[in-house]
């Protein structure tokens, strides 16, 4: 392949010289970016009132769980997966199916009623996602690079079709209504703020587990797999097992996000689990930075702010807001790839 000729911007040359102000900025840029993003986000949200802030934080937290879990796969292990929306959906549907109560059922439908509490249904959802991930991962471990992306593309489409057409379980396009809110020891998380706190709690848990994973020897092997799978195998690591393990862990985390969002919305339908969501997730991970847990949190926040913030731009005609957001997101991705493929605070490139 052709030698990469790296153009050097005047800005870069200026900042590269020690003693310039730029050097100091560059040194701490990750910290500064983090600070700036959070400050701007806070200012913006507070200016819009607390209700909006709660909603944004809620959405960001869900996306952050997904992004952190996906980052384990994309950033650390180097597997660009678009299939994550499937696990997100499995978690959501598991919780939905298991917690619905016949009394709340609005259309007499095909599903059986289990009427479980949320906190019992969520682990089952994780388990289901884990088992499916194990099976799918076995197939996926045969592929690499471009073909891997293609196959996960296909899996996302298949997952959507299953949600849409497997009527006896998912009720297809009707969706599932009246999904129960979590309750523990008689305390029901039914308010928006309470639910946000619950989601944040789960987010903290997911981040903590992810941190444990990536800071162990296991995490280092994952990065070695990302860099050169063939080489790490020669040193006695069965890469397939490592990939499968992280794949399953990541899928279970995505299922947590799914369960939470199902319960938060109290209604799910297959429209929420389309390929585009997976694309958004990959964008968040890249936006934040590969192999950076903080990056994924920031990425989710920035992404949600961008998508929701666009609702406040007056000069975009209302009818075009939805498509306009997509267009702007697309341009953002391109700019990101051109100027900063390692994301906001990341260090690694794809």
């Amino acid at each position: 392949m052709i030698e990469k000729l790296k153009a050097v911007s005047p800005w870069r040359r200026f900042t590269a010289q020690p003693g310039n102000v730029g050097a100091a900025l560059r040194k701490n840029s990750q910290f500064l970016i983090t600070l700036a993003v959070i400050a701007l986000a806070a200012t913006f949200m507070l200016s819009q009132g607390s209700g909006f802030a709660v909603r944004v934080i809620q959405l960001s937290a869900i996306f952050a769980i997904l992004a952190v879990s996906l980052n384990l796969v994309i950033g650390y292990t180097g597997l660009l997966s678009l299939a994550h929306v499937g696990f997100f959906g499995i978690g959501a549907y598991s919780v939905a199916v298991l917690t619905t109560h016949p009394a709340y059922e609005q259309v007499p439908g095909h599903i059986r009623y289990f009427d479980w509490p949320f906190f019992a249904a969520l682990p089952v959802g994780m388990l289901v996602a884990g088992v499916v991930a194990l099976f799918v991962g076995g197939v996926l471990s045969r592929f690499r690079d471009d073909i891997f992306v293609l196959v996960t593309f296909g899996l996302a489409v298949i997952a959507h079709r299953v949600f849409l057409f497997w009527l006896p379980v998912t009720r297809g396009a009707f969706g599932i209504h009246a999904i129960e809110k979590p309750s523990i020891f008689g305390f029901v998380f039914d308010g928006k703020t309470e639910f946000m706190l619950l989601t944040l709690g789960f987010l903290a848990l997911v981040v903590f587990v992810s941190w444990l994973v990536v800071s162990s020897s296991f995490g280092r092997v994952l990065m070695a797999i990302r860099e050169d799978e063939g080489a790490i195998e020669v040193f006695g690591y069965k890469a397939r097992n490592y990939k499968l393990t992280i794949w399953v862990i990541s899928a279970m985390m995505a299922a947590v996000a799914g369960g939470l969002s199902a319960s938060e919305q109290t209604y799910i339908d297959p429209q929420s689990f389309v390929l585009l969501e997976s694309i958004f997730l990959v964008c968040i991970v890249i936006l934040g930075g590969l192999a950076s847990l903080v990056g994924s949190l920031l990425g989710a926040l920035v992404f949600v702010l961008l998508m929701e913030g666009m609702r406040f731009i007056d000069f975009i005609p209302d009818a075009l807001v939805g498509q306009g957001r997509l267009a702007i997101l697309g341009i953002l991705i391109v700019l990101l790839m051109v100027f900063r493929p390692q994301g906001l605070v990341g260090r690694y490139k794809l």
Binding site: E3, L5, K6, V8, R12, R13, A16
Partner: protein
């Protein structure tokens, strides 16, 4: 001078690859360029072909600055055989050779050149309909050199033509280089790490270190001074 670099400097992402390099190649001579890894040898060749962006300095061909695009350099009469036996594996050997003078319209001339090259490297004639993928490393290197010769160059630039080749092939390769120089009146600029063999055939030698020319002279002068020891042994990478 046939080909001349004057004060050429090249940056690669903040790192100086070449820092004011001036060197020249006269018609009909063999000139060797030596230096440790990362000294910038390959960059010199790439700079000639416009494949490395020049920060300053210019490259002159027959006293005129080269201001054509990289792909047009070959039609000036400069052919470049890059490092690492890079042949087109999707193409047959004949097609590979044809690539060497794609700009040429005259089919008879093409045919004639191909025959000449195949005469020089008989193995290419033997396998001419085969895919280049199926060749051994030595054969691929010969194909790469043959492809360069298809342009009927006045100056031939060789980047590490013997890297990773077996001793027998190395010897053969140096013989061919000398033969090309002698019979086809081609000036040859060769980057080589095989010090002993290259000093036997080269008329002049440049030694490059850290992007600068540190020595310039005949093989004899190199043997006399300790510049090579200094460059190669004097510093740990």
């Amino acid at each position: 001078m046939l080909l001349e670099l004057k004060d050429v400097a090249v940056h690669y992402g903040g790192v100086k690859a070449l820092d004011g390099v001036s060197l020249g190649l006269d018609s009909g001579e063999i000139v060797a360029l030596m230096g440790p890894n990362g000294a910038g040898k390959s960059t010199v060749l790439k700079a000639i072909f416009g494949l490395a962006p020049l920060d300053s300095g210019r490259v002159f061909w027959r006293q005129e600055p080269i201001d054509v695009l990289p792909h047009q350099v070959v039609s000036l009469g400069i052919a470049f055989v890059p490092q690492g036996r890079r042949v087109f594996t999707q193409l047959t050997i004949e097609e590979n050779l044809e690539m060497g003078c794609l700009y040429l319209r005259d089919k008879a001339e093409k045919r004639r050149r191909m025959d000449e090259v195949m005469e020089l490297f008989p193995i290419l004639h033997e396998k001419r309909k085969d895919s280049a993928r199926a060749m051994s490393g030595g054969e691929q290197q010969m194909l790469a050199v043959g492809r360069g010769l298809m342009a009927k160059p006045t100056a031939l630039l060789l980047d590490e033509p013997t890297l990773g080749l077996a001793p027998k092939i190395v010897t053969e390769m140096f013989e061919k280089i000398a033969e090309i120089n002698a019979t086809r009146d081609t000036a040859i600029f060769v980057v080589e790490h095989n010090i002993r063999s290259v000093l036997d055939i080269a008329a002049r030698v440049y030694v490059l270190d850290k992007g600068r020319i540190v020595h310039d002279g005949t093989p004899a002068s190199i043997r006399e001074t300790d510049v090579l020891t200094q460059v190669f042994l004097g510093r740990m990478e």
